[in-house]
Symmetry: C2
Subunit: 621 residues, 2 copies
């Protein structure tokens, strides 16, 4: 698959954008006109730079408001087009995007439109230029991709074809299978964009909220499957207008963009393998037909089977050790070659890393996931352009395959074991003698704070590299603003990761943002009592909460009293019940203990505002 990206997706100058696209590995780019008009580079310099960088200049865009106009306006439009064709010759470009008229069309007549497009195609032909005509979702008269294609067929000129843009098609819920019937020689260009499903006017949605494939909710694999079956072989190019990407680091956004196409390529191949063309038998036959476009594949991974460990880091780890000890974790000893400690409760393993630079407040540093094959999973992640994390190992020690997540958390791909143990724990020396049978526990979920510039990138990262599934996002009120919360899970819930996007910090800048690790136990009340007896500093839940809880759930008085006594929070839904409590925060980390009863599958969302408010209160005494 030939990969492309429109310069409008990225921040910076044309030069910065082109360099970032080359570094990220794109085959070509679309030049968004404004990026050229505002650039000090001459067309010849742009052409030379593209050649030096190994970038094809695939599409010049957009040419607006051409068709369905009065004769006077047509004349001016043809003059304007000719100037652009001359410019494109200097750039060495051969394809221009013409989008359906939004502003100046006054005549709704396909015959007239075809006649005007034919004149444009003729002029383009004289300059060796191809016109890719696209239906904008909000075009005045032409807003349906099949309508645009019919016009192309009516004109029937070698220099006129259509451009298919997934946003303009999927935002209107047009049926995409009809693409398969298109003549591939008349599909001049394909643009892809994903988007969250929002109910707003389609123009605002398009201009602000597009995201890269895998970061939204469109079925792009199916769209691409139909495009491939139609026989299209040209570039598949990203055109994503996004308020955040326009502000973010250009090189990083380009890598995020490239990752989305690599992932889309794989998903499209999978869709094609799993979906026979209509009218042919589902198995054995035509769906094995080869299409001209080659779709590269990635090393395959399944969902992770669980968390292998979580790692916290600080230069002074005393508070972390104290908290874990009070929660009931056992100290299992120090690593034989590194300054790290292992603490466990059942199968929940926490590494305390003492190697942090001085003045490093406690924070979550790394997460280990159990995968079928760390080597294969790592190869996949690297093909998806995840940065590799180097970790020093000595002979005989387990080699951890590590990658860096968008928020810089280190992600280690570990060899899982059927019994939930981890071989590397033998690298740790003797710990303290265990003071009992030990509580059964696992890591239930981890909640990571995401920088606002990298939230969508993080969703795609965990989707593509770790096969986690994004759930519908929620918004939680906090005293310092709404917190956007995105759950990424495995189908069986064995891995649950919560990505939180905190409100933009105020200039006055209290650190209002915290991350946490939650552990699931079988008997939360017993765990809480034991922790209290060990002197744990619980997050203090206001009495008002328990009154409201009782008003909502009509709880048994003894149970309510226990919740209140132990600072436990409670939730209930049709599937089951959820009990949980939080520790105080050290640095940017706190811990949560949870008990899931029945089929409860949530995170106590109604209680999240209480947690935020109490944590805020403790920072604003």
């Amino acid at each position: 698959m030939r990969t492309g990206i429109a310069t409008v997706c990225l921040s910076g100058t044309l030069k910065e954008k082109m360099q970032a696209c080359a570094i990220a590995g794109f085959d070509g780019i679309e030049i968004f006109e404004q990026d050229l008009v505002t650039s000090p580079l001459s067309p010849e310099q742009v052409r030379g730079m593209a050649a030096d960088l190994g970038l094809d200049l695939d599409l010049y865009q957009p040419f607006r408001d051409f068709d369905g106009v009065t004769p006077d306006l047509l004349k001016a439009n043809l003059r304007r087009a000719e100037a652009k064709f001359a410019l494109m010759s200097r750039l060495g470009m051969d394809t221009i995007l013409v989008c359906s008229n939004v502003a100046t069309a006054t005549i709704d007549d396909d015959g007239l439109r075809a006649e005007q497009l034919a004149q444009l195609a003729g002029l383009a032909g004289d300059h060796g230029i191809n016109v890719a005509y696209e239906a904008l979702a909000w075009g005045k008269y032409v807003n349906d991709y099949e309508h645009a294609y019919r016009l192309v067929e009516m004109v029937d000129h070698p220099n006129l074809g259509t451009c298919l843009d997934s946003f303009h098609i999927l935002s209107r819920d047009w049926e995409t299978s009809h693409i398969e019937a298109f003549n591939p020689e008349k599909i001049f260009f394909v643009q892809v964009a994903d988007a969250p499903k929002l109910s707003m006017d389609v123009l605002s949605w398009s201009r602000h909220y597009r995201v890269f494939p895998g970061e939204g909710q469109f079925d792009l694999a199916k769209f691409m499957g139909h495009v491939v079956r139609a026989g299209y072989t040209g570039p598949v190019s990203l055109e994503v207008f996004n308020d955040v990407f326009r502000q973010s680091d250009v090189e990083r956004t380009a890598v995020d963009a490239m990752r989305s196409l690599i992932w889309l390529e794989e998903q499209s191949a999978q869709w094609l393998a799993g979906n026979a063309p209509e009218g042919t038998p589902a198995a054995g036959g035509a769906h094995r037909r080869r299409y001209p476009m080659e779709l590269a594949t990635l090393p395959k991974v399944n969902e992770p089977a669980g968390f292998n460990f979580a790692e916290v880091k600080a230069d002074d780890t005393a508070q972390l050790e104290k908290l874990l000890g009070q929660l009931g974790f056992e100290f299992e000893g120090r690593h034989r070659t590194k300054d790290v400690q292992l603490w466990t409760m059942g199968q929940a393993r926490v590494i305390i890393n003492e190697q942090a630079a001085s003045h490093t407040e406690p924070s979550i540093a790394a997460l280990g996931f159990d995968v079928d094959s760390p080597v294969i999973a790592s190869a996949r992640a690297q093909q998806l352009k995840a940065p590799v994390v180097a970790r020093k190992v000595q002979a005989d020690e387990e080699v951890f395959q590590g990658i860096s997540a968008p928020d810089s958390t280190e992600i280690f791909l570990c060899q899982g074991s059927p019994d939930g143990t981890a071989a590397w724990t033998h690298e740790f020396g003797e710990g303290l003698e265990h003071h009992g049978a030990g509580t059964s526990a696992v890591i239930d979920h981890v909640n990571l704070a995401q920088p606002w510039q990298h939230f969508d990138e993080a969703v795609l990262f965990y989707t593509s590299a770790l096969a986690l599934e994004p759930q519908p996002f929620a918004e939680v009120p906090s005293p310092s603003g709404l917190v956007r919360s995105q759950v990424m899970e495995t189908t069986d819930g064995a891995v649950r990761l919560v990505l939180n996007l905190a409100p933009v910090q105020q200039a006055s800048g209290h650190k209002t943002y915290q991350e946490h690790i939650a552990f699931a136990v079988d008997d939360l009340v017993a765990t809480a009592r034991a922790a209290r007896d060990r002197g744990l500093d619980f997050l203090q839940i206001p009495a008002n909460y328990y009154e409201d809880l009782d008003a909502r759930f009509d709880l048994e008085p003894g149970f309510l009293a226990t919740l209140k006594e132990l600072n436990l929070l409670y939730d209930r839904d049709a599937d089951g019940e959820f009990l949980h409590f939080y520790t105080a925060t050290v640095g940017s980390v706190f811990f949560e203990m949870v008990e899931r009863r029945g089929g409860y599958n949530g995170y106590g969302a109604p209680n999240a505002p209480v947690r935020h408010a109490v944590q805020y209160d403790s920072l604003h005494p």
Copy 2:
């Protein structure tokens, strides 16, 4: 008018919110349930604190999903309500907001709804509580304020009335005049919120984009006029869910909120004075009838007649002096008692303030506006809670009435003169001898960068204190993100102020944001030539821009060559033409020279991306 505000409008804890509301001068507050549930304060402590702060506790809210339910659910809902009534007694509160059912209603029958609301009203009566029933714009069966009122009439219970919320009514475009027919004793509460007109689902619009009155596009004066005519005398209370206000400084947001109610009160009185009730003669008669609600008025001001001066500040002003001199400004001398210089071109006056602290980069410090009466205008601004700016004056010097704008720019209210001169210029000593007849010029517009937390506040500030009119906002692409641009003008265009909201700065933090002052001249080409001859450092416009300009406008070649030679930008619309150029930036300031031909009324918006890109380029060489 009794003023109120819901705690959900503000950031922080309940305690912080209450204190801020008291400081801002509100009569009462609505307690948003979540703020109480998450608070460590007991209901009795909240009651005591409100009493100490002089705040009435006007409304407890919201109580959701009560009506139209099955018998089982009704029982649970009544139990839940009774718990809240008991809580309200502890708070000393007597009114609860019950909003129409969104989630759990399954029976669409007004008879049943009325029966269930009657039960609720009866239970409320037992506790001395009044229920204010409100139609949410997205209520499952009840989403129209007249429907809610009909139910209240059907039930006809002394403890059941309705709550009117301007957002739920105006977002649905319901006709508001019908409010006048309501029995005022059945209107238990009135909530007001403004909003920009957006086309998106009404729930998202409501939850994220509400703003304070005067910051959006709803006709709230008319809404309030009908409410007043109905005979309502209770609190008029703000309920504004806004993502930015939730993150902003609580005390400042509370003052912004209070300002919006003071302004709304005045606007409502004006609407009442200008709009006779239907069915009565327009003049003389019933519209002079007094309504029970007293509406306070403000000192009246007209639009400013023009800019009196602009002031720039730095600790080293050499670069500013050089730029102004090259543009053709004349040095008119130093002030006799202060370290400030006066520079003029025609009636455009620029004060260069040398009194800045060391290491202060050049920036725009103050703007003077010509008003009919500075004293009256200042009194109005102060009643609107604008902070006063103190400026030291000596005997015989003109006293400047100053207020501080939300972005800290000092705004001075000056005595205008019919001939456009300013008396205070005589306080300046002798300047250099003038080298010619002098160019005729005025300040055309000023463009100020606004911090993202205070953008809406700034719109209301200039609307209410200076009688500027907000125009539809625009978004301009720049290499570091979209720039939101809001023009505030007088009807005659004599004062034009552009408020720009820059993209949130990246952590890497180049200063990408700049402000400028634009001067209008009669002959821009001559001005530019003279400036070039004096060595002015023009903002360098890319050659690509002129090619695109020619493609768009088919310009006369000689004219195009002149534009290109002098780095002039050009725009044209149905009303006229616009020529302009920019200087390089010093500190955070640059200057623009413009020539308006014909009735051109814009700002060269199509050229703004070029300006942003070139300025960005100069910061990223």
